[in-house]
């Protein structure tokens, strides 16, 4: 009998008893983990000495929650999952025909994205929409663009890059330093050109850095490549902090000029051709945000378009071939050196675009914005979305960035947990946990299949389980 294994006695317990047992263990472990960190809090007293504050009630609540979750999971969720899996295995496999929504998902999303500011203003008024367009719309789209850029390096070429934020920093500082300078030296009627000159140049500069940093790591693969790129990212950040004469150190650069609409109208209230004066609208800062929203949306679409086109070009096919098997790739005569460098350069270029946009949007850059965690977040979005899948990545960015942004809005929790409760504090904690949970639940990301660009006779989606990653 195959069923006789070492776990047979455990299997004999019914789910409820099993759940009780597991919940007890989980409670003991949770108590051990949290007894010092939640049960006690180190606080400074008036004379600046550390004292301990006791919080046993909170500890008890958390341990009970852990036990309850574990009990419900083992007693109810696991049997339910198992029976569903059995039912699925028993049922004949029917290839589900994607519905209207499934077939036109990208077109519908694009239309929705273009309508978003209009809807936001319609629902929450001119001033109320500011938050939605800026904190949600622009913020999420910046991450979508960065993740799509990184997707070229990680998802298509299979090069694991943990220092991607460095190129973002290059773009941001390029606009912050050169853009500010250009803005000052150009004659006023041409000053609007500063951003439009710097946007492509920042991309090119970042691409150049991509090649410079890509060159030494050509021989590395997998984890080692990841760690070296992490090191490069940190080196660039540390140089930005310490090279005070140029970058103003950790204080950052402020007063970066705003983007202007090709000299036609501007977004500075004091200017004669301020948008509200030109169009006789009420004065509001929301116009600038709406303009920036459409700008980043167009940049995102550009990234997507370029990615889709590149995948069909020889270089894109070389990237994907290299991801699958570098040695086979080389023996077929593909120059892996140029293939890798073009991947680094293209990915970095989009980060450069996003960086100069970021600098123009914030009006302020500092090394604080380019820490390792940012690279990790972008990589997490790419992996969680399903590497290589543009739409999956966009939804991952929406879930992860939008989800953590929405925490700022949950002020009603203050009424539940008391006035000291600040939901924002839990942003990164929840983000980290979400990374782990989503990874455990769907290791291949939200969209686990690929549309091949080259195929024999019929087009079939390839399960991502058959594609490799990160060996390049």
């Amino acid at each position: 009998m195959a069923a006789i294994t070492t776990s047979a006695p455990a299997a004999a317990l019914n789910p409820i008893e099993q759940g009780m047992k597991e919940a007890f263990y989980a409670g003991v472990i949770a108590f051990g983990l949290f007894v010092l960190f939640i049960g006690l809090k180190t606080d400074q007293n008036i004379s600046n000495e550390l004292i301990l504050v006791q919080r046993w009630g909170l500890l008890a609540i958390i341990v009970i929650i852990v036990m309850a979750v574990r009990f419900l999971y083992v007693a109810f969720a696991l049997p339910a999952l198992a029976s569903r899996k059995a039912a699925k295995a028993a049922a004949p496999v029917v290839a589900a025909e994607p519905g209207f929504l499934g077939r036109n998902l990208s077109q519908i999303s694009i239309v929705l994205l273009f309508l978003f500011p209009v809807v936001a203003i319609w629902l929450s008024g001119l001033q109320g929409s500011l938050k939605w367009i800026d904190n949600f719309g622009i913020q999420i789209l910046i991450y979508v663009m960065l993740a799509w850029g990184l997707n070229i390096v990680v998802g298509l070429a299979g090069l694991l890059d943990l220092g991607y934020v460095a190129f973002y920093a290059v773009g941001a500082y390029a606009y912050a330093l050169i853009g500010t300078y250009l803005y000052a030296v150009l004659p006023p009627e041409y000053a609007w050109m500063a951003f439009w000159i710097l946007l492509p140049s920042a991309g090119i500069m970042a691409a150049f850095w991509g090649v410079i940093l890509g060159f030494p790591v050509l021989r590395l693969r997998g984890d080692y490549l990841a760690i070296v790129t992490l090191a490069f990212g940190e080196i660039i950040r540390l140089v930005l902090i310490n090279w005070r004469e140029v970058t103003n150190g950790s204080a950052g650069i402020s007063g970066i000029p705003k983007v202007e609409f090709f000299g036609w109208f501007t977004f500075n209230v004091s200017d004669p051709n301020y948008i509200a004066k030109v169009f006789e609208l009420p004065t509001s800062s929301v116009y600038y945000k709406i303009f920036l929203y459409y700008l980043i949306l167009l940049l995102c679409l550009l990234t997507a378009y370029v990615t889709i086109r590149l995948r069909r070009m020889p270089v894109g096919r070389a990237w994907e071939a290299m991801r699958e098997d570098e040695i086979a790739c080389r023996s077929l005569g593909i120059n892996t050196t140029t293939t890798k460098l073009t991947a680094f350069a293209t990915g970095a270029m989009f980060a450069g675009f996003a960086g100069s946009f970021f600098a123009a949007r914030q009006g302020f850059v500092s090394p604080e914005s380019f820490v390792f965690i940012e690279s990790a977040i972008i990589l997490a979005i790419v992996v969680l979305g399903g590497m290589g899948s543009l739409i999956g990545i966009a939804f991952a960015a929406l879930a992860m960035i939008g989800g953590t942004e929405i925490l700022r809005e949950l002020q009603f929790l203050k009424q539940v947990f008391g006035p000291d409760f600040t939901p924002e504090l839990y942003r990164m904690l929840l983000f980290g946990m979400a990374m782990v949970i989503v990874m455990l639940w769907k290791p291949r990301g939200f969209v686990g299949s690929r549309e091949p660009t080259a195929f024999l006779r019929e087009r079939r989606a390839v399960s991502a389980s058959f594609t490799k990653e990160g060996h390049g």
């Binding site: 472990i29 051990g32 983990l33 010092l36 960190f37 939640i38 006690l40 809090k41 180190t42 606080d43 400074q44 000495e49 550390l50 004292i51 301990l52 694991l160 030494p216 790591v217 021989r219 590395l220 984890d223 080692y224 990841a226 760690i227 070296v228 992490l230 090191a231 490069f232 940190e234 080196i235 540390l238 140089v239 310490n242 040695i327 390792f372 965690i373 990790a376 990589l379 997490a380 992996v383 969680l384 504090l425 839990y426 990164m428 904690l429 983000f431 980290g432 946990m433 979400a434 990374m435 782990v436 990874m439 455990l440 290791p443 291949r444 389980s465 490799k468 990653e469 990160g470 060996h471």
Partner: protein
């Protein structure tokens, strides 16, 4: 010359701490081939546990011998930190064993973010200073050696001897080395692979906890974000010595310690982390198998 020897002593102290953390990286990498990105934060948790135990001891006893206090801090930190690493391995890494290679790295990064923010949320974002525990300083021929430094070196050497014995002379160590060479074959020969991997994580965590306690004693301050940079440096040490090799991790730790203290002393203290990261990049590019590591053979 005295200045140089002084820096050598400082480097030895730093290097001991890095070496202890590096062993955790190298053991885990050796056995399951993953970079345990959260290991730096495990080190930070060790330091924080030691801090809390220190405060508890201060609240319970009016005065307590420093050696006893340090010992209790160390043991509690080892136990708790091991429990953390054991749980993390069980929850976040084990289900992904055999999945694609990036998956555990992503969960490890997620765990690293979650752990440091967990400490930030529960203990507050500020630096946590403690009064100096050991303050005696000896003057040996013009070189000042503090008792703290002597304690660090002695504890490190003692622990390394113990771990060398565990890995090389016991059946547990044999099981570990077997899993490292061929996990499937080891399982077929009756080695409990899951248990061995769990114990590896526990060993790594307890060494990191000791490193954390020593770090707290040496610097007298810890913050929730203190895991990342020492973690990366210790990883550098592990790679420099040859990842997967225990003596290599210690050697690498010492080298990183020396390089860092010399760099701060003779060049610029601002750029000392740049130096550490540059060494990491240079070593990985030109000497990927490290000083004592075996070169990886690629099979087609």
């Amino acid at each position: 010359m005295e200045y140089f020897i002084q820096q050598l002593v400082n480097g030895l102290t730093l290097g001991s701490i890095y070496g202890l953390i590096a062993i955790g990286y190298t053991m885990v990498y050796g056995i399951i081939g993953m970079i345990n990105f959260a290991h730096g934060d495990i080190f930070m948790l060790g330091a924080f546990t030691a801090l809390i135990v220190f405060l508890i001891l201060g609240a319970l006893f009016y005065s307590i011998p420093v050696v006893v206090a340090l010992l209790i801090m160390m043991i509690v930190a080892m136990l708790l930190t091991s429990l953390y690493n054991w749980t993390i391995e069980k929850v976040a890494y084990r289900p992904l064993r055999g999945s694609f290679r990036l998956a555990p790295l992503i969960t490890a990064i997620g765990m690293s973010i979650a752990l440091s923010n967990f400490v930030q949320v529960t203990q507050g974002p500020r630096n946590k200073p403690i009064p100096p525990m050991v303050s005696r300083v000896y003057d040996i021929g013009g070189i000042s050696v503090s008792l703290k430094q002597i304690i660090i070196v002695i504890v490190t050497v003692a622990l390394l001897a113990l771990f060398w014995y565990l890995v090389n002379k016991t059946s547990l160590g044999r099981a570990q080395r077997a899993c490292e060479q061929d996990r499937k074959m080891a399982a077929l020969l009756g080695v409990d692979v899951d248990r061995t991997i769990s114990i590896t994580f526990i060993m790594g965590a307890s060494l990191a906890a000791v490193a954390g306690t020593l770090f707290l004693m040496y610097y007298g301050v810890v913050a929730f974000s203190d895991g990342f940079v020492p973690g990366v440096k210790a990883f550098t040490a592990a790679v420099l010595g040859g990842i997967g090799s225990l003596p290599g991790a210690v050697l690498g730790g010492l080298m990183i310690g020396f390089i860092e203290s010399m760099w701060s002393a003779y060049f610029s203290i601002d750029y000392k982390d740049v130096a550490a990261f540059s060494i990491l990049a240079i070593v990985l590019i030109f000497l990927p198998s490290g000083i004592l590591g075996r070169p990886e053979v690629e099979k087609v």
